[in-house]
Amino acid sequence: METNVKGILEALLFVADEPLTLKQFVQITGFDTELIEKNLKELAEEYQKGNRGIQLREVADGYRFFTHPAYAPFVEELVLSADYRKLSQASLETLATIVYRQPITRARIGAIRGVNSTGAIASLQEKGLVKEVGRERGPGQPILYGTTKTFLENFGLKNIKELPPLKDFALDEETIDQLQLRLMAEPVEKAKKESKE
């Protein structure tokens, strides 16, 4: 039987237990990067068009097969539900500060959230979503936290740059004005008038 590039890639993707990078494909097959990339793209398209049970996706700087999300209810009959991936609000907030401010210390996470985040950090570490990435210079040399490859994989991201920039989540002028007004130490009428002057 004639071996074909796509078949080889497919077999490798099937057995791999983590996303495979282009570099790994090159090392294992000896084909050049362009050929591999072209075939991966075609493979992904074929699976997608056919409404197949398996989908090829690019995550965490590599390629990996996943089941099609439409069939999740059936898959969950067979394997442990992904419910455990759910995160509490505290964990999500903490994760967001780490995602957008990494590398960041525990103290700065706490300062942004206004609340001690030690427990949330520990829980994110336990889930493999964040890790210690180093230590800050200076007094106490606090631990710096950052996100992991597992984070990218679980959130379906090729890399961290795929996320919308933080400024997209900033409050608009109007909302900030509302905040201003509601924290006024004088009647609103007067405040409004003054701000117009």
Binding site: F14, V15, D17, Q55, R57, R64, F65, F66, T67, P69, A70, A72, V75, V79, A82, D83, R85, K86, L87, Q89, A90, L92, E93, L95, A96, T97, V99, Y100, G110, I112, R113, G114, V115, N116, T118, G119, A122, Q141, N154, F155, G156, P164, L166, F169, A170, L171, I176, Q178, L179, Q180, L181, R182, L183, M184, A185, E186, P187, V188, E189, K192
Partner: protein
């Protein structure tokens, strides 16, 4: 074990304040902050916070609110501000800036949650290798016997710090700082130049080492000791300056 601080639905002082602000109806004759402060205070009275850091976060925001609120009760301009006191208007702007910053991350967290939700429907294959490929793997247990593993386990279980059994019902033996202090001074008198490691070499547990460390810091603070450390995590070298034990105790403990 971190405290599980669940402040009802709120994730902290900023979250609570933002929530109260959003609910607040604006009546142009009202002083808005008065109502918000009142609600905020009554809320934090109800909640039970076991974590000191969290508590201080809530209290800091509360005191800022009270300060801003009281500003309009006072004469227009105050020129009696203490040096490190922040004028109410500045405090208000600082608070708003922090709220705005926090809300940005909170919004980002909601977007992450949505992403996680849709991602949770993708499953990856978590199955081991096919049998025929398993044989290919080097036998990493070649030189390991089951007895080796048992021995390792025994080592852990009999190691000092590996006590994983719940000991919360056991009253910890208090370590007298004063006692350690006195021992430390005697040791340092006998040998004026030594490292912290040397000093604590016979310590039976972490608590004792910590007690020594506190003693050292106290001595350093009172100029009885010079400390140096050549590199991060390196040896802490100490040089004791000659005083009588009595003098030292008197200086530090007042007796």
């Amino acid at each position: 074990m971190p405290y599980q601080v669940r402040i009802e639905v709120f994730e902290g002082p900023f979250d609570l304040l933002l929530n109260l602000i959003t609910k607040q109806k604006l009546d142009i004759y009202d002083i808005p902050i008065a109502k918000i402060t009142e609600q905020y205070l009554s809320y934090i009275e109800q909640i039970e916070i076991v974590d000191l850091e969290t508590a201080s976060g809530f209290l800091l925001v509360a005191s800022t609110l009270v300060e801003i609120k009281s500003a309009n009760l006072l004469p227009e301009k105050r020129d009696d501000l203490e040096e490190d006191e922040i004028p109410p208007e500045q405090a208000r702007q600082n608070l708003i800036a922090r709220l705005v910053e926090y809300k940005k991350f909170k919004n980002a967290s909601l977007s992450l949650a949505a992403r996680l939700e849709s991602e949770s429907r993708y499953y990856k294959r978590e199955v081991g290798l096919e049998e025929k490929f398993l044989k290919l793997l080097p036998d990493f247990l070649k030189d390991v016997s089951i007895d080796d593993l048992a021995k390792l386990m025994v080592k852990f279980l009999t190691k000092e710090n590996a006590f994983v059994v719940d000991t919360s019902h056991v009253i910890p033996k208090p370590i007298s700082l004063k006692e350690i202090f006195s021992v430390a001074i005697n040791k340092l008198k006998q040998k004026k130049n030594q490292s912290f490691r040397e000093l604590t070499i016979n310590c039976k547990n972490k608590a004792e080492i910590i007690a020594y460390f506190l003693a050292i810091l106290e001595l350093f603070k009172n100029d009885f000791l010079k400390l140096s450390q050549a590199e991060t995590f390196g040896e802490i070298e100490m040089e004791f300056c000659e005083f009588s034990e009595h003098e030292v105790m008197e200086e530090v403990y007042g007796n």
